[in-house]
């Protein structure tokens, strides 16, 4: 037994040193058997540590998610392109836009550059509170998510975009399954928009039908626009839709935090949610907790990156209206805005 131990101990030590030298990030490479020995690891790894720090940033690829809307796809390759210019290697990983915060927490993704307050605020904040994702930067761009109608609806429903005017012509939006109530086509249930609470809070004559994905929202809008069928649906800006279909957001009572929590607030003294969504929601960049330690220079560059509404709209339109590939649009954006992103790199 003791002979065996004599043999094994040096082997383990050797393996630990070797693995510590072989890669500066063991998260992926660590074999399962190393887990029980992990407690001993610090003593072995401490020695080479300063060396790694002198080198500055890690040479591992920075993993950026690709989601399923066009401004993000172009923006991801813009962010990646800038980081590549600055000397980093980048990897793009297709990823579900809800699950991505979990992936960032697990160390599978390094940064998300389009965190929308409305759609992903909850999932993002959960991981920030859990202490494994950092709220790293806020873009200049503001986001708005609200009930929206294509412009031709104004011809049959005067008084729009006021919400009371909308409520008065609820019957225009009625369908077989909603009876005499109007039909509001909401976003997917997992976006947690609180539309039903609002309908109740404002006493509106509408029924909320949740679409299953953004794609089905646009499919309905496209079909309705083909013969000017009245429709009111969930939409947001910046978004390619505004470049293809003209339309307006419904104006609800202005949002305040109290509206969601305090029933006393607003026109309905008994219920919450008697107001619209924030008209200027944030657009943030989130990074994994280890990102600034592992890639300090890259983290500083990412923090300086700042997108505006016109930039995002243009990125989306390049793909959705002009029919370019996302990578093509990203290359063009980089060529046209070199001064700007150079200033982000140089600080």
């Amino acid at each position: 037994m003791s002979v065996l131990r004599k043999l094994i101990l040096p082997l383990v030590a050797l393996a630990l040193v070797a693995s510590a030298c072989a890669s500066d990030d063991d998260e992926d490479a660590a074999p399962a058997t190393e887990a029980p020995a992990a407690a001993e690891a610090p003593s072995a790894t401490e020695a080479p540590e300063p060396e790694a720090e002198e080198m500055g940033d890690s040479s591992d690829p920075i993993r950026i998610p690709l989601h399923n809307w066009s401004s993000q796809l172009v923006g991801a390759e813009v962010v990646g392109g800038i980081l590549e210019e600055a000397g980093f290697s980048v990897e793009y990983v297709p990823s579900d836009s809800q699950v991505v915060y979990q992936s960032m927490c697990d160390g599978d993704i390094e940064l998300v550059h389009e965190v929308w307050e409305g759609a992903f605020g909850v999932a993002f904040q959960e991981q920030v509170d859990a202490g494994c994702v950092l709220d790293w930067a806020t873009h200049n761009a503001v986001t708005r998510e609200e009930w929206w109608y294509p412009i031709y609806v104004e011809d049959v429903c005067p008084g729009l975009p006021d919400w009371q005017a909308l409520n008065d012509c609820a019957h225009l939006f009625a369908t077989a399954e909603t009876g005499d109530k109007g039909r509001f086509l909401g976003g997917p249930v997992d976006w947690l928009k609180g539309d039903e609470e609002r309908v109740e809070g404002l006493g509106m004559n509408f029924e909320v039908i949740n679409a299953g994905s953004a794609a089905t929202l646009w499919a309905e809008l496209d079909a309705a626009s083909a013969d000017n069928t009245p429709i009111v649906l969930f939409n947001w800006t910046p978004n390619f839709v505004e470049a293809v279909y003209e339309g307006k957001f419904i104006e609800f009572p202005t949002f305040e935090d109290a509206c969601r929590t305090d029933p006393e607030w607003g026109i309905n003294a008994e219920l919450t949610h008697d107001c619209g969504n924030p008209a200027d929601g944030y657009l943030k960049t989130g990074v994994g907790i280890h990102f600034p330690e592992k890639w300090p220079t890259a983290a500083a560059i990412v923090q300086r990156m700042d997108f505006t509404n016109p930039m995002l709209a243009a990125m989306a339109a390049a793909v959705d209206v002009d029919g370019k590939e996302a990578s093509e649009a990203a290359q063009e954006w980089l060529a046209e805005n070199e001064d700007l992103w150079r200033s982000w790199i140089d600080g």
Binding site: P94, I109, L185, A219, A223
Partner: protein, 672 residues
């Protein structure tokens, strides 16, 4: 179960009553089977105050989802038995997949990286596919393989399809191997078969979505995660078919092998495997179909390839482009399937040993020539390495025009159809299923189970229904069930006539086969968008999407059943002067009915898979919504799994009942 043993052990009189009841036929039997259910329903409706609530719904019973959430979080965060963390182990194991995946990707497309190998130019690959086709199946297969791969080149899908292919060439052999090994083990060890078959049943009827989220937790996201998901999805049919193949090797063949003194090893490789070849080949076919079928879903866990662009095209309503990508998936699946089928069913050829090596291996020579010439060509012109964009074509404008036309001209009339379906059929049906007390469904299912499989089956299916009731998702399960049952009725109403029509001539049969293969592999996401354009978000759109997919097995099994009617029976009927209609109605159809019932079973399983995907349409609050909702928070990861398990249990209940019925009916008819 006590009641089951009592009559058998006790007096003879009760047994004869049981026997008497069992011999009832037709409507009398049906009446008997539904009577417990009707009794419960009448009681429930007539005296709602007296009917105990817990026998009707257990909505607040949330034990299972909560427990699953905690169990999965525990596995993820804690050390199991103080030794190792499950997440670390699964991640380390899946990390090994990275090497073959990287290698195949570099060969096919990327052309750089640690292995230092250049990407193969498209001219070489297309040429090699064609040569392989020629070698394995003559000029027809060469045309098919060359044509399919040229489609990828000229429709500007080469890069993405090569990434998908690079994953499939790693995953499909692994899945086929694991499936084969599991099937072999089950065929050799009875206890393992008992263990494996229920596991396969559950794996095959779990919706893919419900295990994607746990995979993203335990494997991470990326190509490996998609590869693991695909393997999980593709192993069961291979295992099942291997088991079937080995179990149905004729005893004469086995005896012949034994008498000629084969060792166990020789028996396996020289006797049993060749004898099981037809089933093994079907297994390989299913593995490939499943691998390509997962392409789009795998992109939800970060796998690259054709999936993500396809979803993005749909997102910006570029249906034509999405369709071209979908067709690319279908063509690659068909190409690889036909090549592997030809390879698997090749017979040894006898060539004169005296001829030169060159003459004996013409296709190796041709392949080498293609590689050399193609590589040289790629050095000369970049066009041979990667075709420039302005040389590529697209049919997208045609499809987009078609979609516009359909919207303008069909939306009106279809709107009336939609309203009628919702108000007169679907909503009443939904309310009916929604008000069903679980004990009533249990009684019905148990009665049917008892009739076709005795007390044992009755107990099993009762357990399934009881699980649904206690799972915490009873209402959602019923919402899902109603839609699937509605889709089943429509699919059978459409599919059976098509099957009858297609089975009347060999040519029609072949043509319909191609259409069926296409619809089975074409990513269902593609038709989610057009159905929403026509029927708006809601149950009718979901129903149409399910029907498109679930009609495939209805047609397939009807054809199979009708074509397997013994020819002497048809002859006898014709001799006795049957008209064609009589022949179909009185002879062929009754004979084919058990097979058609098995088809209905498949319709239901297909429908259950798609009802979850149709949650992307929206407007229905079934199990699919629960699975999608589980994505928002990691604390819900177990809930999604439980909801997925509910789907599997619904499928298994139907599966048990229908297969027992078909087995009994087949033995009565003297088939097999």
């Amino acid at each position: 179960m006590a009641a089951a043993t009592e009559p058998a052990a006790g007096s003879a009189a009760p047994r004869s009553v049981t026997e008497h009841i069992r011999r009832l036929r037709g409507w009398r039997m049906a009446l008997l089977l539904v009577s417990p259910y009707v009794a419960i329903q009448v009681f429930h409706q007539a005296a709602p105050g007296l009917f105990p609530d817990f026998l009707s719904k257990l909505g607040e019973f949330r034990f299972l989802p909560d427990w699953a959430n905690e169990a999965l979080l525990y596995l993820k965060n804690e050390q199991l038995a103080g030794l190792f963390n499950v997440k670390d182990v699964t991640r380390a194991v899946s990390g090994w997949l990275e090497y073959p995946l990287d290698l195949s990707e570099q060969l096919l497309i990327a052309g750089e990286g640690p292995f230092g190998l250049g990407a193969v130019p498209w001219v070489v690959l297309v040429g090699l596919f064609a040569v392989a086709g020629a070698a394995l199946g003559g000029w027809r297969l060469a045309t098919l393989a060359g044509g399919c791969s040229l489609y990828l080149v000229f429709f500007d899908i080469w890069d993405d399809s090569m990434i998908t292919l690079s994953i499939v060439v790693v995953v499909a052999p692994l899945a086929a191997f694991f499936g084969w090994a599991a099937g072999l083990a089950a065929a050799k060890a009875k206890w393992f078969e008992g263990l494996l078959v229920p596991v396969l049943n559950v794996m095959q009827s779990m919706p893919h979505f419900s295990y994607l989220l746990p995979i993203s937790v335990f494997i991470g996201i990326g190509d490996e995660a998609g590869a693991i998901a695909t393997i999980l999805f593709a192993v069961p049919p291979m295992a099942r078919l291997t088991l079937l193949g080995l179990q149905t090797v004729p005893t004469e063949v086995l005896e012949a092998g034994l008498t000629s003194g084969c060792t166990r090893w020789q028996m396996l490789w020289k006797v049993e495997m060749p004898a099981a070849r037809p089933q093994l080949l079907v297994g390989v076919n299913q593995v490939l179909m499943q691998c390509f079928g997962m392409t789009v879903l795998a992109s939800f866990v970060g796998t690259r390839g054709l999936g993500l662009p396809l979803l993005n095209f749909l997102q910006s309503l570029r249906i034509g482009k999405a369709l071209e990508y979908g067709v690319a998936i279908v063509l690659m699946a068909i190409m690889l399937d036909r090549l592997s089928q030809a390879l698997g069913s090749r017979r040894p050829e006898h060539v004169e040993a005296s001829t030169s090596w060159l003459a004996r291996h013409p296709f190796w020579v041709a392949g080498a020539a293609v590689a050399v010439v193609g590589t040289a060509l790629a050095r000369v012109t970049d066009h041979a390495q990667l075709l420039p964009k302005n040389w590529t074509v697209s049919t997208a404008p045609v499809w987009e025009w078609l979609v516009d036309w359909v919207q303008l001209n069909l939306k009106g009339p279809l709107g009336h159809f939609r309203d009628f379906m919702i108000l007169e059929i679907l909503f009443p049906m939904r309310d009916g299923f929604g008000s069903l007390p679980w004990i009533g469904l249990l009684a019905l299912v148990a009665a049917v189970g008892w009739r076709f499989g005795g007390w044992k089956l009755a107990a099993i299916v009762s357990l399934f229904v009881a699980y649904l009731a206690f799972s915490g998702f009873w209402i959602e399960s019923m919402e899902t069930l109603y839609l699937v049952v509605a889709a089943l009725i429509v699919s059978v109403a459409i599919g059976v006539p098509i099957g009858v029509f297609a089975s009347t001539s060999a040519r029609r049969y072949a043509a319909v086969q191609v259409v069926l293969d296409t619809f089975q592999v074409l990513p269902s996401f593609i038709y989610l968008i057009p159905v929403v354009m026509l029927f708006r978000v809601g149950p009718v759109a979901a129903l149409s999407a399910i029907v498109i997919y679930a009609t495939v097995p209805a047609v397939r099994y009807t054809m199979l059943g009708l074509r397997s009617v013994p020819p002497d029976m048809i002859e006898a009927a014709e001799m006795s002067g049957c008209t064609r209609w009589q022949l179909l109605r009185k002879v062929k159809f009754p004979m084919a009915f058990p097979e058609i019932m098995l088809g209905m079973n498949q319709v239901l399983l297909f429908g259950l898979l798609l009802v979850i995907i149709s949650a992307f349409i929206g407007g229905i609050d079934g199990l699919g919504d629960e699975i999608l909702l589980a994505r928002t928070e990691q604390a819900l990861v177990g809930e999604g799994l439980v909801a997925g398990f509910n789907v599997a249990v619904i499928g298994l209940t139907a599966d048990q009942l229908i297969t027992s019925y078909a087995r009994e009916r087949k033995s009565q008819l003297g088939i097999n």
